[in-house]
């Protein structure tokens, strides 16, 4: 426990010092990884711990982004940057989750997909949200005593939020609540019989995951200064899913590693060759065939996924 916390602190310090030694492009890449990392971790809470594979997690990412864009335009404070997007995403997760948790397995995948695609379709066609082009010129928030408008200023702000989110998520999966989620993943009927209100636990997990996805979406909008309907598109959900699987499901750190692997692979390969999609695709195929359990699974040196 203490060793893990120390290791965590060491990683955070290393990431905080990274901009001192690196150029602008690597710092940008790192920030992108951190943002997608939160998103992937929030999805991992659902898939890896509660066993609910959602293909519509982009809904909350997109809502976070759009709400941040609209709110920051009105008043550029932390309320608009963090609280409102997370709340809106959590609320949406409550509604979508209420309907979606009635079904499971591939039906759950498809229903969550349908809900997220509804947001995509709506934002893609509606004028007040900029339709296809989305919202641009999103201001960064005014943080008291902290200039986050520059790349390096944003780094500290982002890293603080990512570290806090990781700690909270880590605390959640280690709590009794987290253990109930794992129990549901292992055997839902048994948990029901033992007397747990399984549906309520699943819904709460869905809402928590939605809140953090919303936060990630908001940070993504602040990072880019823009948000487009693509944030809602199913490929966004799919890529988060890939990050979690690549990293190793059911390990929050794995989700972050998966995000890093995905983004590094994508950007590194694409600077050398136009054929990056091909290489990415082949990598996924080989990864599935030869490294089941993802990066964390491979590091642990054993085959098969842990619940």
């Amino acid at each position: 426990m203490t060793i893990r916390l120390l290791a965590f602190a060491a990683v955070v310090v290393a990431l905080a010092l990274f901009p001192l030694t690196a150029g602008n492009y690597p710092v940008k890449l790192l920030q992108e990884i951190l943002i997608w990392g939160i998103f992937a971790m929030s999805l991992d809470l659902l898939m890896g711990y509660a066993g609910m594979v959602s293909f519509g997690h982009s809904a909350f990412f997109g809502i976070g982004g759009y709400v941040a864009a609209l709110a920051l335009d009105k008043s550029p404070g932390l309320l608009s940057a963090l609280v409102l997007p997370a709340l809106a995403a959590g609320l949406a997760a409550l509604v979508i989750g209420f309907f979606s948790i009635r079904v499971s397995g591939v039906y759950f995948i498809m229903l969550t997909l349908a809900f997220s695609q509804m947001f995509y379709a709506y934002t893609f066609q509606v004028g007040w949200l900029g339709a296809e082009d989305g919202l641009v010129g999103i201001p960064r928030p005014a943080v008291p005593g902290w200039d986050v408008s520059s790349l390096r200023g944003f780094h500290g702000y982002l890293l603080t939020l990512v570290a806090l989110s990781a700690l909270v998520l880590w605390r959640i999966v280690r709590s009794p609540f987290g253990h109930v989620l794992r129990g549901i993943h292992e055997n839902e009927a048994r948990m029901e019989t033992v007397g747990y209100a399984v549906d309520r636990y699943k819904l709460l997990a869905f809402v928590i995951a939605g809140v953090f996805a919303g936060l990630a979406g908001s940070l993504y909008a602040q990072f880019n200064g823009s948000i487009t309907p693509d944030a809602f598109f199913w490929k966004t959900s799919g890529e988060a899913l890939l990050m979690v699987i690549i990293g190793g499901t059911g390990t929050l750190g794995g989700a972050m590693l998966g995000a890093a692997a995905f983004i590094l692979l994508q950007s590194l390969v694409s600077t050398y060759t136009e054929r990056w999609m091909l290489i990415l695709g082949v990598t996924f195929v080989l990864l599935v065939l030869f490294a089941p359990g993802g990066i964390v699974g491979a590091l642990r040196g054993r085959v098969g996924l842990r619940a």
Binding site: V103, M118, Q125, L241, M277, L278, G281
Partner: protein, 288 residues
């Protein structure tokens, strides 16, 4: 505007039968192999491009219509044997990752070979004109697509419901392990069903070519409507696939005509409604 209405309906119908050809493979593969094949749209795309090249090489649309699905079916068989076979006893997530990887792979391969631009595919000479039906001008190729799709639906129905092979497939969809236990070489049936589904996807792509042209992202864009059809119709059900395709085909086409500002929403609303009222789909077996 009854003529306009009629034309819209035919448009929806031709889109619907294309979705049907695509979703049959998807639903059988899911029903039997328990794999949500995200790369199924890629077979559709490969079919269109294979058709494009075969038409260019032979100058004969009909030959391409016959050969392109065979090419795609062969690719499907290769995918099943080399990639999917080791995964059947693993978690479903591995199959998601694998088939997602195949999407990237096939899309980029196609860009590499054929380039990224949209390539139009000429309809066969026989159906290059248009005809007037009830005051509406319809490209005759669309009528051919509808007729072809309905004939294929009939043939598929006969194959699945009336032949020995069909009985084996239905048994496999119901319980693959038990079917294997009864002395059927279930591995071979798995490969056949996957290749057959891929070939139908390819066929759908060739047929769609003259209407939609060929472009690299066509597979990704058709995948979600096809998945919706499968879920609306009921997983593993041929009848569901047909009804689902026709419903989604009409919903999409009429949505575009009547509600241009929210047309893209409609099929998702249809799907969510069906799932909430009848989670197993229109013709699916009840959920446990």
């Amino acid at each position: 505007m009854p003529a306009d209405l009629f034309a819209q309906m035919l448009n929806g119908l031709s889109y619907g039968v294309l979705l049907f050809l695509l979703s049959v493979g998807l639903t059988l593969i899911f029903g039997m192999l328990d794999v949500v094949n995200l790369a199924h749209g890629s077979f559709y795309m490969l079919g269109a491009y294979a058709g494009l090249s075969l038409i260019a090489a032979t100058g004969n649309f009909w030959l391409a219509l016959l050969l392109a699905p065979l090419v795609v079916g062969l690719i499907g068989a290769l995918v099943e044997v080399s990639c999917l076979r080791p995964l059947y006893w693993r978690l479903p997530l591995d199959q998601v990752l694998l088939t997602f990887g195949l999407i990237y792979l096939f899309e980029d391969l196609v860009k590499w070979i054929w380039g990224g631009r949209i390539r139009s595919i000429p309809p066969p000479d026989l159906f290059s004109g248009s005809v007037s039906v009830w005051g509406a001008t319809i490209p005759s190729y669309r009528l051919f697509v509808i007729a072809f799709g309905l004939v294929m639906a009939l043939l598929l129905f006969l194959l699945i419901e009336r032949t020995r092979l069909g009985a084996i497939i239905r048994a496999g969809v119901f319980d693959a392990e038990m079917t294997g236990g009864l002395g059927i070489n279930i591995r071979r049936v798995f490969t056949f069903v996957f290749a057959f589904g891929a070939a139908l996807g390819g066929l759908s792509g060739v047929v769609a070519g003259p209407i939609q042209s060929a472009y690299p992202s066509m597979g990704v864009s058709i995948l979600i409507p096809a998945l919706i059809v499968v879920v609306v119709g009921g997983l593993g059900s041929l009848k569901g696939s047909l009804v689902g395709s026709l419903v989604i085909g009409q919903a999409e086409t009429f949505g575009k005509a009547w509600l241009p500002n929210s047309s893209m929403l409609i099929i998702y609303v249809v799907m969510a409604t069906v799932m909430l009222v009848r989670p197993q789909g229109l013709f699916g077996r009840p959920l446990k």
